[in-house]
C-alpha cells in the first residue's frame, strides 16, 4: 500500500482506494521476501525437512542399521524407562546449567564495561580471539593446564602448597565446565553486548536522576530491558553445552556419558536410528521445559518486562 501511495500522490480519498487495491504487488514487501528466500530455503531443506523426517522416524522400529516404518511409541517408552537416560540427562543438565550460568554471569560485567565504560572495542576483540583456535585445540589445552603433571599442579607442587597432584582438576565435572565456559564465553559476550547496546545510556542516567543507585538501576532498568538478550545468551549456551559430547568424553572422566553422546551412539555405533531420534526429541522437550522455567523465574522475580506494579 505504501509504495503504491507514494508513487501516486495525486490520488486522494475513498473512491481512489478501489483502483489502488487492484494495483499489483507491494514492492517493499516483495523485496523483503526475495531477501529472506535464500536463508529460508536453506533452513527448510537442511533443518525443517530433516527434523520432520527424524520425528517421523522416531515412531519407527529398527533392525541392525535398517529402519522399518511403523507407528509405535516403543522408542520413547524404552528411553523413559531406562535409568541410563536419566543419568546422562543429569550430567548434561549440570553441564548446561553451570556453563550457561557462569558464561552469562562472567560476560555481564565485561559487556557492561565494553558498552558503557570504554569507547574502544579492544576488549571485545580480545575475547573473540579465542575463536581463532579450533575447538579441539582448546579442549586439549585445558587438559594440559589441568592435568596431574599440568601447569597448575606442578606449580602448586613446586611451591610446596600441595604434596600430591589435585586429581579432581582434570577428568571431572570441574574440567568439563571450565572448558565449556571458555568455549561459550565469546557467544554470551557478543549476545549481551548487542543487547546492552540497545539500552542507551540515557536510561541509566534517567534511573540515577530519579534516585536509583547502581544496584537499583541494574535490577530495575538494565536487566528488565536486557531481558531478551540475557535469556537468549543463557539458552544458547545451555543448549550447546548440555548437548555437547566431545568435551565430556575428553575431559569428563566418569561423567563422560551425556545425553548427546547417548544419542550419537545410537546413530554411529548401535545403529538404532529410531531410538536415537526419540531420544533427540525427548532432549528437545527438556530444553523447552528449561526455557519455560527460565522465563517463569525471571517473571516471578520481576525481571521480565510487561508487568504492571499498580492497580
Amino acid at each position: 500500500m505504501n509504495a503504491v501511495n507514494q508513487s501516486k500522490p495525486v490520488v486522494v480519498g475513498a473512491e481512489a482506494s478501489v483502483p489502488i487495491k487492484t494495483v499489483s504487488i507491494d514492492k517493499k514487501a516483495l523485496s523483503g521476501y526475495l531477501l529472506a528466500t535464500p536463508p529460508l530455503l536453506f533452513l527448510i531443506i537442511f533443518f525443517l525437512v530433516p527434523s520432520i523426517l527424524l520425528f517421523v522416524a522416531s515412531f519407527w522400529t529398527s533392525k541392525t542399521f535398517t529402519m522399518i516404518p511403523a507407528a509405535t511409541i516403543a522408542n520413547y517408552a524404552r528411553t523413559l524407562s531406562a535409568s541410563g537416560f536419566y543419568d546422562s540427562l543429569w550430567i548434561s543438565m549440570q553441564n548446561g546449567f553451570w556453563t550457561a550460568t557462569l558464561s552469562t554471569v562472567i560476560s555481564a560485567p565485561v559487556a557492561y564495561y565494553i558498552v558503557y565504560k570504554t569507547r574502544s572495542n579492544a576488549v571485545l576483540y580480545l575475547a573473540l580471539v579465542s575463536w581463532f583456535s579450533s575447538y579441539l585445540v582448546r579442549v586439549y589445552a585445558w587438559r594440559t593446564i589441568l592435568g596431574t603433571t599440568g601447569v597448575i599442579n606442578s606449580t602448586l607442587q613446586q611451591f610446596g602448597i600441595i604434596d600430591q597432584p589435585l586429581e579432581w582438576l582434570v577428568f571431572s565435572k570441574f574440567s568439563v565446565i571450565i572448558t565449556l565456559v571458555h568455549i561459550m564465553l565469546p557467544f554470551t559476550l557478543l549476545l549481551l553486548v548487542s543487547g546492552l547496546r540497545d539500552i542507551k545510556k540515557d536510561y541509566l542516567e534517567a534511573s540515577a536522576d530519579l534516585g536509583g543507585g547502581g544496584f537499583t538501576t541494574l535490577w530495575k532498568v538494565i536487566i528488565p530491558m536486557a531481558h531478551k538478550s540475557i535469556v537468549s545468551s543463557f539458552m544458547f549456551t545451555f543448549v550447546l553445552a548440555a548437548s555437547d559430547y566431545i568435551t565430556p568424553q575428553l575431559l569428563g572422566g566418569r561423567d563422560a556419558m551425556t545425553t548427546g553422546l547417548l544419542i550419537a551412539n545410537q546413530f554411529r555405533s548401535v545403529g538404532n536410528w529410531p531410538l536415537g531420534a526419540a531420544m533427540a526429541y525427548l532432549l528437545l522437550a527438556v530444553f523447552m521445559l528449561v526455557y519455560a522455567t527460565l522465563l517463569g523465574v525471571l517473571r516471578a522475580a520481576n525481571l521480565a518486562p510487561g508487568k504492571r506494579y499498580h492497580d
Partner: protein, 357 residues
Amino acid sequence: MTNSIELTGISKSYGSLTALGKVDLTVKRNEILTLLGPSGCGKTTLMRIIAGFEQPTTGKVVIDGKDSTSLAPEQRPVNMVFQKYALFPHLDVFDNVAFGLRLKKTPKDVIKREVIKALELVQLETYKNRWISELSGGQAQRVALARALVNRPAVLLLDEPLAALDLKIRHHMLNEIKRIHEETSTTFVYVTHDQDEAMILSDRVVLLNKGGIEQIGGPEEMYWSPRTLFAAKFFGDTNIVGGTYGASTGEGQIQLPFGRFAHAPKVALQAGPVNVSIRPETLSLAPAHGHLAEGEFLGKVKDTSFIGNRVIYRVAVAGGTLDLKCQQLPTPGSHTLPPGADVSLKCKPESFVVLPA
C-alpha cells in the same frame, strides 16, 4: 535563601579540549532560566554538571544551599527531562512516573495520589495504563515532565525537550511548560539552541559561546542591548555595519558608510573603529523624494519578500557598497516597493548598538 543553584568557577576539560571555562552562574528560586547557545557552546555540559552526570574539572556546585559538587546524581534534589525522554519501555505510564517515588519508599497510597496528580498536571491522567510504545512524541514528552516533577525537585532540568517534536506541537508544548511552571512554582533550567524558545519561555537567558557566558539578561535586554557582536547576531536578524566613533568624526558622532549620526553611547566607548548593530525593524523606508531630511539617506531596493505580517527589503546603500535589511509593517492597501525602486531610508541612531570592533 533565594537561590536554587550557585555555580562558582565551573570549568570542564576533556584532555586538552576545554568544554567550559570558569563559569559563574546563579539560578534564582522559581525562575525559568535558559541556557542558550549554538551546539558545542557548553550548555549541555553545564546542565549535566548540575545534574551530576559530569564532574566539573574545577569549581563548586551549590544546589538549594548545599554544596553538591561531589554528590552522585541520585543524591541531588534535581530531576531532568531528557531530550529523547528516556522513558522506561518495560514499564507503563503510571510505573514510569512512580519510579522515583518507589525508590524513596513512599507509601503506596501516597504514590497513587501523587502520580495521578502529576498526570493530571500534564493532562494525561487517562493514559496511566498505556505502554510507552503507545504514546505519541508529545505525550511521551508530558510523561517525562510528570516523571520528573512528581519528585518535587528543587530544580527541574530540561535538556532541549522540544527538539524531537514537530513545529506545531512545539509551540503548544512551550505554552504547556509555561503553565506547568506557574502551577508547580519550581525552578526550571532549560537548555536550548533555539532563541525563539528562549525568548518566549525565559525570565532570564544565559547566552553561551565557546564554553563561556557571553551575556545574561531578560529577553528584551538580550534583544535590544546585546553586549557583544555574537549576542547581537544570535538574537533575531540584524545589520552589522562597520564604522568609526569619535576622534576625527567628533565626540558623540558615528561615521557610517551612509552617513554621520549623533549617538550617545550607553556604555563607555573608546574612540576608533566600531561595529554597529542596526535592527531591520528600526529602519523606515519610503519612496525617494526630492530632499533628504536629517538622518535620512538614499538606497535602491535589491529584493523584497512579503511575509504577510511584515515586508523585508534588501536595500543597497552607500553607492551599492553595502546592503541593509529593512523590515516594514504592511497595512491593507499598502504597496510593496519593487526591486530597483529608489528609496530614502531613515534610521533611529538612539537604537544603534555600538560595539568595539
